[in-house]
Each structure stands twice: as structure tokens, then as C-alpha cells.
Amino acid sequence: MISTTETETPGFSQKIPLYEGSTQFRHWRYSPEQLARTRSAMNAAAVQAIKDAFEADLPGSSSDVSFLSADEEILLVKLYAGKVSQLCGHFRFPEEVEATAVTYLKRFYLKNTVMDYHPKNVMLTALFIATKTTNHPISLEAYANHIPKTLPSDVLDLEFLVAQSLGFDFAVWHAHRALWGIWLDIQNLPDIRMDELRQAYDVALKHVRASRLTDAELIYTPSQIALACLSLASPSLAAAWARSQHNSRSPTPPSPPTPMPPSESAVLDIIEPIASMITTSGVLPDVEAVREVDRRLRLCKNPEKVVGSNAHKRKQEEKEHKAAEKRARKAERIRKAMEDGDPFGTSLHEQDLDDDDDDDED
């Protein structure tokens, strides 16, 4: 059933679907290969940098260190993603907060390595940010006080970094809301048994939660993930709804890359891999394996990021030096201006007299 309606409604195809305007679609959409490549590249770069830091500290020390692989990093991230759920239950944060925090965590580690930043604190920070961006804010004090062995500074220190790594893309479209939507829309279908639907929904929701441990949201859209979860719970209901979607008034204008019109089976084809992804990877990692990784992490952490280490001190000094230089330059400029007789110096925009203008560096 190939439909050719895009030619019938030419104006339609010029419209951009709402989802495709979101930052989630524009910045955080990968193919599985891209994900793998990104992670391994980042891992390799990190390993190199840390090796150098070790060498600078103590030549020859780096050869003893066993660095983490990209897969092992993923393991660790997954573990902490699971912990988010626990914390949210403890604080009674709504599902939206939990889902957002997990997304932030995963996205963060597409741009950073666990060897630079341990997931424990990143997770806490990501959750804190999520409470703010989803309009369920909590005071930092209240937050930190309810988490054992955590100071407010532990959370706050990383806040800007996490936000930066996210590219300040705070809005996230979640699969659980899409599932809710399917639940509502299915009620439009004839011959739906509500108890069957209700049961399927509960199971599907569990799958949605499991999907958060996978890479699904980085590859597929929330609606696809939701449908996949439903198909795991009740294949017939999912198929029925997908069919109704295809038969609905007018078809979706095809999104740019693919000229092929969508067909009912196409949608089902897309969600099949999601379903298998959820069943295979949607589980918490084996505790023992993780413990092992964690132990090794302690040894291969980037010394530059560890407060108190030589490398860190050195980096700090470097920073201080740069800042001092800059201050001196600024003072010089002002002094010159005063000497020239014009206390206001040359025109404003030649002199950037900001207070904290470390923007010019880096």
C-alpha cells in the first residue's frame, strides 16, 4: 500500500514536523554506528590524555595502569542510571524528573569519559539539574542533606559543566509520555477490552523504564520506543494501533532523508530492533562486573581532575598564571589610558573592561 499523497498535497511537504525542530532531534540523534564510534574515539582520546598526565607526573607510571574500555564505561554509566531511579523514589520525584535525569546522564557521557568524571557525582548533579529544568525544583540544601555522604558543593561544582556538556539542551521528549498518548488513542479503536489494555499498559511501562538503561532514546523517537514497549506487552494491541495510525486521515510528510513513503509494516520494522534492544540490554549490569570496573577506575582516574594531586595542582597554577597575566595586561591598559590624559581611554569596545572576562581565553 504505497501511498502517493505527498504529491497530492504539495504544500504539506513543506511543513516541518514539530519533533524535528527540537534539540533532541537535531543534536542528540545517532545511528548505532555513530554511537559506537563516538564512544571509542572519546575513550581513546581520554586514555591518551590521561597517559600523558601520568607521564608528566611520574615518567613511566602510565604503563602499569589498566585503562577502561568504551564498553566498560557504558557499564558504569548504566549502573548509575539505575541508581537514579532509587533516588527519585526516595525523594518522590515524578517520572518526568527521573527520565530527564537519566537522559542527561547518558548524554553527558557521550561528551565526557568516566575516567575524568566519576558517574557518582555526575549522576547527582544531573538529577539536580533535572529537577530544575522540569519545574520541580528543590533547594540544594534539602537535596544534599538527604543524600548520604554528600555535600552541596559536590553537586554544585559539576553543575555548570554538566549543563555545558549537554549543550544546554534541556528539553527532552520522553517515551513514557508517548506511551500515555498511545493508551489514550487506543481507546478510539473498536473492540478494545479495557482490562486487557490496562494490563498491557502496566507491562509496557515497565519496559519503558527498562529502555532508559539502553541507547534507545539516542537512536529512535519516543513514539517508536513507546510502541516497541507496547508490542512487547501485547503484540496485537500494538499492531492494531499501528494499523490505525497508517490508515488515519493523511500520511505524515516524509522527513527529509528518506523519499520512501511510510507503510504500516515500515513502522513495525523500525520498532522491532528496539524491542530486542530493550530485552537484551534493558537490564542492570551484573554487580560483580561493575565492582571490578569501579576498582580499576580508581586507579586510572585522570590525575588532573583529582583535587590534591600534583597534576591538578599544576593545572591550577597554570590557570592562575594565565589569569594573573590577564589582570596585568588590563592594569597596563588602564594605566596607559590614564597617562594619555583621557581617563576613559580609547573607545569602549577596544577595551573590554569586563570583570570576569575569561571568555577570551581557552
Binding site: 545511528s31 520522553h174 498518548g181 505524515t252 537484551t280
Partner: protein, 381 residues
Amino acid sequence: MSNRNGWLRGTTIRKGGTSFNSNHTRHTTPQIQSTSSTIFGGGVKDPSGRTSEYFSMDDQCPVCKSDRYLNPKLRLLVSACYHKMCESCIDRLFTLGPAPCPVCAKTLRKLAFTPQTFEDLGVEKEVAVRRRLAKNFNKRREDFPDLRSYNDYLEDVEDIAFHLINDIDVPETEARIAKYKIENANLIELNVQREEQYAQYLKEQEEIDRLDREQRAAELRRLEEEEREEREKGRRELIDKLETSDKDALKLVARSKAQALKRASTRSASSSASNVFQSNAKLLRSRAAQSTVIPDVPHVPLQDDWYAYEDKFALRDNYDDPVSEAVRRDREGIMRAGGYRVEEAWQRALTFAVAGLDLRPLGSAVPSKSTEPADVVMAEA
């Protein structure tokens, strides 16, 4: 009209010279009241034809030494030889005919006295002199072959004025003036006429602008009225037709609408120019000019390019929905009164459910099943 504490208090002496005689009873009388039975006109007038008189608490008549304290109604006038004295003195000295000025002994008549406008009598004199000269020395730049000669002329005028003001060689200067008048009689006359014409022209322009404005406003009102009437008429006709005719109601309505539209478009075509002209002449004339270049277009409700999947689902007003159960029950009616709309939350969920449903994921070239490398990457330890 009494301005208290005004440095420069004014009496308005109208051009026609309305009487101040019976002013003791008027509570709006200005501060300065004439005690004399003579009306003193003259004085420096401003463009609207009124003068405002100079006044100060320190005024004192140099002749009788009375001041405001002793005589609240003190009014000082200025003689032709530019000496001040109060009205009572003037009365006393000059009622019986011309008499010498007590200060400079120049013979003066009573009527030669004018009210003072400027604080400095010197200024008063100068102004009077220049006024007088300007009546005759009214040549303009265009009347001269070059700038140099024009400037020479101006310098001559200044020279004459200087002499007159400072009482230097007065008879000779007067002779010069007389000579000039004779020599340039024609040109003077011409220039006087020119000035009058210009003043007239300005007035006419103003009048035109005002009429313009009014006309446009009336036009617009008329247009609106017309429109309203037409609409009404159209409606009435339609109702009539619906009642009487046996044709299909929909067709009638459609036809009526088409007619109305036609009427509207013809009307706007004919009056599109005048539609744009409304109040505030100058501003709108420029906007009118703009409108012929950039026409206003009919309203289009939504003009953006976003597709919100509205056609992919149908929002109902009721669902079996545990999530919003409590809200909808809302026994207190609080949520209802506040205006919370569950439908909005539902719409959001439904949109999420269909958004990007058939968006092909990146990296999958073949629409059919393919082994996902993702599984390999996600291999567990």
C-alpha cells in the same frame, strides 16, 4: 489670569484695545490696572497680537518716587524719549497739552507714551528702531547680484540702526533713510507684497491640511457605515430568501457570501486609496505613499511552517485515564475554577505518541529487518 509670583507678569492688551475702564469689579482682572482714563496702546506685540507688560516689584516712578508699596496700581509707561514715569505723573503733566519731559526736556505729547515690554529700556528702544527700519529696508538676498553686495547692504542697515539707537548724527541718518526710501521705492513695495503673499500662502496650507484630515475621517466613517449597512442588508436578504425560496439553503448562503465578498472587493478597490488616508496629515501622507508600494494583505491565521501532527489523532473529551482521574473528579471544583484543562495534557501526550513515529532512524539504509550493530556494542561483560 493672575500669575502669582511671576517674574514677568502680563496683561494682555488686545490689538483692538478693549477697555480697561470697568475693571474694578472683574475678579479676573490682571495685576496691573490702569488708573488713567486714557487708553495706552502700543508696546511691543508678539505674533499673536498680544503684548505682555514688564513688571517688577522694584518699580518706582523717577518723577514722583511712588512705588508699588505706596501705590499698588502703579503702572509705568515709557515716553518717546525712553524715559519712564507713572500714569498719574503723565496725567498730571501732559493732560493740558504737550509739555517738556521732566528728564530730558524734550517736548512730549500724552499719547506718545507706551507700556514697557522689556526690562531694559535700551532694548525697548532698539526693538522699536529695528522694527521701523525693517519696514523699509526689506531687501532680500535674491535682490542682489552677489553675496558681497548683499552683505554690504546689511552692513549699511546696521550702521543706520546703530546711529539711531545711540543718538548719533540723527538728522544725517534720517536723511539717509529718506534717500533710501526714494531710491528704492519700487523694490520696497514689491517686497512688501511678496511678504504678504507668503503669509497668506502659509495660512492656506494649514487650512488645506485641516480639511484633508476631516475629509478622510469622514470618508472612513462613511465607508464603515456602508459596510455595516451592506452586511445587514445582505443578511436580511438572505433571511428573506431562505424563508421564501425553495432552493437549497446551503446554496443560498454560499451565494450570499460570494456576493458580499464581491461587494467588499469592489468597494475596497475603489476606496483603497482613501482607506489609507486618515488623521494626522503629514505622517499619514507618507504612510499612504508606502501603501502603494507595500499593500496590506488579508489576515492569515497561522503563517508558520510547523506541522503538529494534528491529523494523526482525534482528541476526545473523555478518556479512561487513571493519571488524570483525581483531577477530573475535582470535587471542590478548584481545578475547574482555575481553568486547568486536562485536554491540554492529553493533547500533549497524544502528540508525543505520534511524533516521529515513522521517522527512519539514522544509519539504517534498508527499511527491512537488519541486525542491529547496537546489540554488539551493548554487549554485556
